[in-house]
């Protein structure tokens, strides 16, 4: 039943002399899995191509050139032929081009459904006109007619001699992927994440796009395997739309966890738009040990960042008080503070990871993207400020500020100081920290939590040292009357923090909500006064004072109702008064359009609550830089992450970051950005602009 293929006779006359029409480069053969078929039966046939060495035929998506094999069926009335089931292809490089196809042998499977009204004893005839393109250094279209004549029988019978052919062919068919896959496009980079679980034993991983013209076929594929899955970094095809549509693809790999000589496997999936973290294990990302070290250093440096200062000032005060205490108490105090820091980091990291696991596109600093959290911090810090100012004295103060340094109250206070320090520290990103957190967010939960814990340990480290190294404690100044005044002074940085939080709130929720919260502050001050005024009164007087205080606080909380994320005004971080650079709002579409024109682009990813961002914008992105940008025709874009923004989160992820700030610079005509450090100086920015 073998039919051999002939080159198209009509074309043979015109072909170059090297092409011999009489000698086909591919022989095709049609084989049925059933020796006898039943009426109405759906059965499978195989189109087996035997291809001359070094020649190739093509997959459904042929890649940069080529044409897939096509079969035009001529079947009896009522019979149906399904689409070709394509075996997983191979990459066929060709100079600067890459095609997808088959060498040596390819078996294409097709399901045929026989009509139900076939008469047993009759014959079922299949005819197919096969057109295929076969290429080596040159391409030749060849065609052939294949046919089969199958007896119809009430009892179908398998074709035993073809069993192996079909079994082998089916191992080469991509199976439906049991793993979820996501796609994220950033500039010209396309990342696909496949949740295979531990992928570190997978070898020879290759991705094949089913849709043409989406992926640059010839660009190298960067595969990263981690304990949680695979990340495949691809390049967007030139001229492809810069959108992030779902992409269907086939993935081939060897799973060496099942043995060194594991067979090639192929799975097929549709990657849905979603978040894909930067590939781990690549050159720009960290290993676990490095991430831990960077997190520890980042935490340590965090102590010097402006947002943590007010809380640390309180801690410094309690240390000064504790300096004269006994060593055991100092140690207990340091441990309580550390525990507070670590517990809070674990809590925030846990919530963050859980929300991300649920599909939320959020990153580090997400807590401060909620106006309710900001409001709670405003109230809390304002109350702490009142305590420091002495408006109200709290015996066992929240922050351990009370007049009595009773051991128990002091420890609880230290714990909460640690918690507070952590929450207030989140808007600051310190050097080293961003890389570590970017790493953490793409790791399995225990590893991610470990990185967060290392960060917390770094934050708490100076106090641990003070607690455990007596020599250091002795250097602390002697307590005395100055401490009262120092305590009152420390209220001012705390009030300043409240003002800053109100600025953030105003950017998120607009002036009405901010005014409500300002009124709430007055109520809290009133509650503090009522409480304190009644402190030395009769029992009944104290009751009245406490009731008034509780009602006032209740009213302050009631006002929070007005704080609504939905009613929010447009975030204003994009247009603060001190701006000298003429920022335009960032969008991926705008960026792609500018890059397509070959324009240089500087992007500032910022947020109203990000102090590091604000410092950079004031200190480094000065009018000098603005002039430099204008002179060089650099288009400045600003991405405002004050509120949740999935598009910006994706860009941050693509650069291995968990939060802002992030500064990117695209040189003229370049589609690969330079990533600037998180701490900018005017000089560093200017020299970068001048270098291009």
């Amino acid at each position: 039943m073998h039919r051999f293929l002939f080159a198209a006779l009509s074309l043979a006359f015109f072909l170059a002399p090297a092409v011999r029409a009489e000698e086909a480069n591919v022989s095709v053969q049609l084989v049925s899995e059933q020796a006898r078929i039943a009426p109405g039966q759906t059965f499978t046939v195989a189109l087996k191509q035997t291809i001359k060495p070094e020649w190739h035929t093509y997959w459904a998506n042929p890649g940069d050139s080529g044409t897939p094999t096509a079969i035009e069926w001529k079947l009896p009335a009522g019979a149906k032929a399904a689409d070709i089931q394509w075996p997983a292809p191979a990459r066929i490089p060709y100079g600067p081009l890459v095609n997808y196809g088959y060498g040596d042998e390819a078996v294409l499977l097709i399901d045929i459904t026989a009509p139900a009204d076939l008469q047993p004893g009759s014959n079922f005839a299949l005819h197919g006109d096969v057109q295929l393109l076969v290429c080596k250094d040159i391409c030749i279209p060849e065609d052939a007619t294949v046919s089969l004549n199958l007896p119809v029988d009430a009892k179908p019978q398998a074709n035993a001699s073809a069993a192996k052919l079909f079994a082998d062919a089916r191992t080469k068919l991509p199976s439906k992927s049991p793993f979820a896959a996501r796609i994220a496009t950033s500039g010209t980079m396309v990342r696909i994440a496949v949740d295979t679980g531990d992928a570190r034993q997978l070898r020879d991983v290759t991705f094949f796009p089913v849709q043409p013209e989406r992926i640059d076929n010839a660009a190298p594929q960067k595969i990263s395997a981690s304990a949680s899955g695979l990340t495949i970094e691809l390049k967007r095809a030139e001229g492809a739309k810069p959108d992030n549509a779902a992409l269907e693809g086939v993935l081939t790999f060897k799973d060496e966890s099942t043995g060194k000589d594991a067979a090639m496997r192929a799975i097929q999936f549709t990657a849905q738009p979603g978040m894909v973290a930067a590939a781990s294990g690549g050159t720009s990302t960290l290993g676990f040990g490095e991430a831990l070290l960077f997190a520890l250093l980042g935490g340590l440096i965090l102590n010097l960042m402006p947002c943590v200062f007010p809380v640390l000032s309180m801690k410094a005060l309690s240390l000064a008080r504790g300096a004269q205490g006994d060593a055991a108490h100092r140690r207990a105090d340091a441990l309580a503070y550390t525990a507070g820091v670590l517990a809070t980091f674990t809590l925030i990291a846990g919530v963050l990871l859980a929300l991300r696991a649920g599909g939320a596109e959020i990153g580090w600093g997400f807590q401060l993207q909620s106006p309710l959290v900001i409001t709670a911090l405003v109230y809390l810090l304002f109350a702490v400020g009142l305590v420091l100012s002495g408006v109200v004295s709290v015996g066992e103060g929240l922050a351990g500020m009370g007049s009595s340094l009773a051991a128990r109250g002091g420890l609880v206070g230290s714990f909460f100081t640690g918690a507070l320090a952590t929450v207030v520290a989140t808007p600051c990103t310190a050097p080293f920290m961003a890389g570590a957190l970017g790493f953490a967010l793409v790791q399995p939960t225990p590893i991610a939590i470990a990185v967060f814990e290392a960060l917390g340990l770094g934050l708490a480290l100076p106090y641990l040292l003070l607690g455990f190294v007596p020599a250091l404690a002795r250097v602390m100044p002697k307590p005395g009357a100055w401490m009262e005044r120092f305590r009152q002074f420390l209220a001012f940085p705390v009030y300043a923090t409240v003002v800053w939080l109100l600025f953030v709130l105003q950017a998120q929720s607009g002036p009405i909500a901010t005014t409500s919260v300002l009124a709430g502050i007055v109520l809290i001050a009133f509650a503090a006064w009522a409480w304190d005024a009644a402190k030395y009164a009769s029992t009944r007087g104290r009751m009245v004072g406490a009731t008034v205080a509780i009602v006032a606080i209740g009213a302050a909380l009631f006002l929070v109702r007005g704080v609504d994320d939905e009613a929010a005004a447009t975030p204003t971080a994009a247009a603060t008064a001190s701006d000298t650079v003429k920022w335009q709002p960032f969008s991926q579409a705008r960026l792609d359009a500018l890059l397509a024109e070959g324009k240089p682009v500087f992007i500032d990813f910022t947020a109203a609550w990000c102090i590091t961002c604000k410092v950079n914008e004031t200190v480094a992105l000065t009018s000098d830089v603005a002039r430099e940008m204008e002179a060089k025709g650099v288009v400045p874009l600003r991405g405002d992450w004050t509120k949740r923004d999935a598009e910006i989160t994706r860009v941050l992820q693509a650069h291995g970051r968990a939060g802002v700030p992030l500064y990117l610079y695209y040189k003229p005509g370049s589609r690969e950005p330079v990533v600037l450090p998180q701490i900018l100086t005017t000089e560093s920015v200017r020299s970068l602009l001048q270098s291009s």
């Binding site: 198209a8 009509s10 074309l11 015109f14 072909l15 170059a16 090297a18 070094e54 940069d64 050139s65 080529g66 044409t67 060709y94 100079g95 600067p96 081009l97 393109l133 290429c135 080596k136 250094d137 040159i138 391409c139 279209p141 043409p212 013209e213 010839a218 660009a219 390049k235 030139e238 001229g239 050159t283 720009s284 440096i301 010097l304 402006p306 310190a430 050097p431 080293f432 961003a434 397509a596 024109e597 070959g598 410092v615 950079n616 200190v619 650069h655 040189k667 005509g669 589609r671 690969e672 950005p673 330079v674 990533v675 600037l676 450090p677 998180q678 701490i679 900018l680 100086t681 560093s684």
Partner: protein, 208 residues
């Protein structure tokens, strides 16, 4: 300022620019058409910039490629060329086959080929080192580009909607280049502005 000290501490490495990948880099619909100069079959140097103010069509060819053959043997390509030239469009046929590969022609052979095919390009450019082809990311023969008078890419992709090497398919096919030129003449953007090019791979040097 603390920040300045921290700037010193911050030793985060800059991500290096990606490896140079020049093949078709930056060629996209709406993007500027990359400049090029090439020598034509008469030994004359042709510069794309010379045609500023005119619509330009680039056609990658290889007379041994069955897909190119089908388009010429049916007369479809010559018809498209002639119609374009009647509208004042500049038609540049470009041959990027490297010496020793399919379709490579010397200047004289190419001249003879133009005559034999009764083709009428404004110029037939020889690109044996594949420089122009690689700049544009020309993948197949025939691979077509339409460039606006402002020298931006208006269309890139296939010549028509019949990705076959069968001559009889092409005269009746929907010709994307003809449609793109019509739209441009009417002040509209081509639709589609981009299609998947079909055909043989361009026979660049350094292949098997």
């Amino acid at each position: 300022m603390r920040t300045w000290i921290l700037a010193g501490i911050a030793t985060l490495a800059l991500t290096g620019a990606a490896q140079a990948q020049t093949f078709g880099q930056g060629v996209a619909v709406g993007a500027p058409a990359p400049a090029f100069t090439a020598v034509d079959v008469n030994g004359k140097s042709v510069n794309l910039a010379d045609y500023k103010g005119k619509t330009v069509v680039l056609e990658w060819t290889n007379n041994g490629c069955p897909f190119v053959r089908a388009n010429y043997d049916s007369g479809a390509m010559q018809k498209t060329q002639a119609a374009a030239k009647d509208q004042g469009v500049v038609w540049l046929t470009i041959l990027s086959s490297a010496p020793g590969t399919q379709g490579f022609l010397t200047a004289d052979q190419a001249k003879a080929d133009i005559a034999k095919e009764k083709a009428s390009p404004t110029a037939y450019l020889l690109d044996p080192d594949g420089k122009v082809g690689k700049t544009y990311g020309a993948k197949t023969t025939p691979h077509m580009f339409v460039i606006t008078p402002e020298q931006k890419i208006a269309y890139m992709g296939a010549i028509d909607d019949k990705a076959t090497a069968k001559a009889s398919d092409h005269p009746a096919a929907k010709n994307y280049v003809t449609a793109a030129l019509q739209n441009l003449a009417g002040g509209k953007a081509p639709d589609p502005a981009s299609t998947t090019p079909y055909g043989c791979s361009v026979k660049y040097a350094g292949q098997s």
